[in-house]
């Protein structure tokens, strides 16, 4: 399936919420465990520009189609951050540029793929490393898409306004998935060496989106909130199945493994939200 970049760029827009009644959050506020997850997602979205720089260290940004996508994608993700921060704001949680800057200063953000580049060293010469980035990006976008859909399903009955916003965000994530997966598929198919490195990279180093920028407790909270239980596990297996269909990545179950490692299981628990899940 080809990705129509002209159509994508022309349709690209900031996710909108001016028609949604955010006053609803003041009448019927979101519970703390949901706000905690939203705060995490908001941070992840705002940090996209930091992920962008990893991508740009490969020469692939000179390809017009990639440059065009990255421009729009980066802005769409920025607006996901703005949308979620507008929801948080209605609950007295203020996420502004200063707070984000403080976080980035504290983080000392590193290229997520640095360890891979180091372990392969000069073996990477002549390799289309963008293939690895694209596979990695596809895994992240599939995860983001699943996370928003899941949160919308969990909260939809009590908070339809939130669910609508999350669905709009997820719709854009679906387009991101299409781009990354198409790119990954083509680039991996072309090179055995790229397939080997991508497989190794994802198996050894991949972690849930946001796990490099958030405290481990926060990662566990969000993953538990969204994916603990049989419904969640079904979704997670779905993400893994998508990843495993990329050339060279057959049989990988990186998302399921990363949840198991954090004690998040497929077992249905009593619907007792918050610390209980986080402590698992």
């Amino acid at each position: 399936m080809a990705f129509d970049i002209v159509k994508y760029t022309r349709a690209s827009d900031a996710v909108g919420w001016s028609d949604l009644d955010f006053d609803e959050f003041e009448r019927n506020p979101l519970p703390d465990h949901v706000l905690r997850s939203l705060r995490y997602m908001c941070d992840v979205e705002y940090h996209t520009v930091c992920y962008l720089r990893d991508m740009l260290t490969t020469p692939s940004h000179k390809e017009p189609e990639i440059a065009a996508f990255m421009t729009m994608w980066n802005r769409e993700e920025f607006w996901h951050g703005e949308a979620l921060s507008a929801v948080l704001e209605r609950h007295g949680i203020h996420v502004d540029y200063s707070a984000l800057k403080a976080k980035r200063l504290k983080l000392g953000f590193k290229d997520r793929l640095d360890p891979i580049k180091q372990s392969f060293g000069s073996n990477l010469i002549g390799i289309d490393f963008a293939a690895v980035h694209m596979a990695w990006g596809a895994a992240n976008e599939w995860s983001a898409n699943a996370a928003y859909h899941r949160l919308a399903a969990l909260e939809g009955a009590d908070h339809p306004v939130l669910a609508e916003l999350l669905k709009r965000i997820a719709q854009q994530e679906t387009k991101h998935v299409a781009f990354y997966a198409t790119q990954a598929r083509e680039r991996l198919a072309k090179s055995k060496k790229a397939r080997v490195i991508a497989r190794f990279a994802l198996r050894k180093f991949w972690g849930p989106v946001g796990s490099t920028i958030a405290e481990p407790d926060e990662v566990t909270h969000v993953m538990g909130h969204l994916f603990q239980g049989s419904e969640g596990r079904k979704l997670v297996r779905g993400i893994d199945a998508h990843i495993a269909r990329l050339p060279g990545l057959e049989g990988l179950t990186i998302v399921e493994n990363s949840l198991e490692a954090r004690g998040i299981t497929g077992e249905d628990r009593e619907p007792t939200p918050e610390p209980e899940v986080a402590a698992a």
Binding site: T9, R10, D13, A14, Y46, V49, C50, L52, R53, L56, T57, H61, K62, P64, I66, A67, A68, M70, T71, M72, N74, R75, F78, W79, E82, D96, Y97, S98, A99, L100, K101, A102, R104, L105, F109
Partner: protein, 273 residues
């Protein structure tokens, strides 16, 4: 070693509203363009060639983003929020210029824009790879942001002159140029405000910025361009008496920035063919 740029509090005195800028970003312009007149009348070769250079410069934002983001600039969330929208707006400016060029069918007759790079010592620094840039910029620390916004400002002044020249060569392009300059006006305002504030606050920022400006091939992105096209740009924009006057004006604007007194004339001399 605390410096003003390491504080996490947003500068209270800034007038440029980045959120407002992001909210009101200008995208797709093709509908506002009268492409038919270019289909009918085409474009004269110099105008088309300059248009092509400007399109490619507007398009090179991802390469510029890479150079900025591998440094401490990526930590400044207000600056990255600006850059996110700036890249988006420039993408659509390039698209508008591309639409005009395409409609005029003038590109076929232009000289190829591939060829050797300029091989001068001063430009080796500018052309060096991401890794080396990241390493040296990390020594520079957060003050590198001052150098980036000042370089962005000088670049805007230079491309502004080029757009004015473009409208001067081809009357038919004046409304296109007007659209472009209107979009770029907010870019200039942001860079100018940031540059003046950051340079005013810190001697280290001024030192790093002087070095950055003197080591850059103008306009930004030129190092990647063939020598022939760059000579054409300098000749058409800054050649002749009028062009020299433009260059002098830009040199004066740069010199008026805090700590840049000696830099303006050097850049002026480099712009003039």
């Amino acid at each position: 070693m605390t410096t003003n740029d390491e504080t996490t509090i947003a500068p209270a005195a800034t007038a440029f509203d980045v959120s407002e800028f992001a909210r009101t970003a200008k995208g797709f312009h093709r509908d506002e363009l009268d492409l038919e007149q270019f289909e009918q009348h085409g474009l004269e070769p110099d105008a088309a060639r300059l248009l092509r250079v400007l399109r490619d410069l507007e398009r090179s934002t991802m390469a510029r983003m890479r150079n900025l983001l591998v440094t401490a600039t990526h930590k400044d969330a207000r600056v990255t929020a600006f850059l996110t929208t700036w890249a988006y707006e420039k993408f659509w400016l390039a698209d508008a210029l591309d639409a005009v060029l395409e409609a005029s069918r003038a590109e076929e007759d232009l000289p190829a824009d591939e060829g050797h790079h300029r091989l001068t010592v001063s430009e080796r620094r500018d052309r060096r790879g991401t890794i080396r840039r990241a390493i040296s910029a990390n020594f520079a620390g957060p003050q590198i942001v001052a150098a980036h916004v000042t370089a962005g400002l000088a670049d805007e002044w230079i491309t502004h002159a080029a757009y004015r020249r473009l409208a001067g060569i081809a009357e038919s392009l004046s409304s296109v140029v007007e659209t472009v300059l209107e979009v770029k006006d907010r870019h200039i305002r942001f860079f100018q405000e940031e540059a003046e504030r950051r340079l005013g606050e810190s001697p280290k920022a001024r030192r790093i910025t002087r070095k950055e400006l003197l080591g850059t091939a103008w306009p930004i992105g030129s190092v990647e361009r063939p020598a022939e096209e760059r000579s054409f740009f300098e000749r058409i924009v800054f050649g002749g008496a009028e062009g020299r006057e433009e260059a002098r004006g830009i040199g004066a604007l740069i010199s008026a920035l805090p700590g840049m007194t000696a830099v303006g004339s050097t850049i002026e001399a480099r712009l003039v063919p």
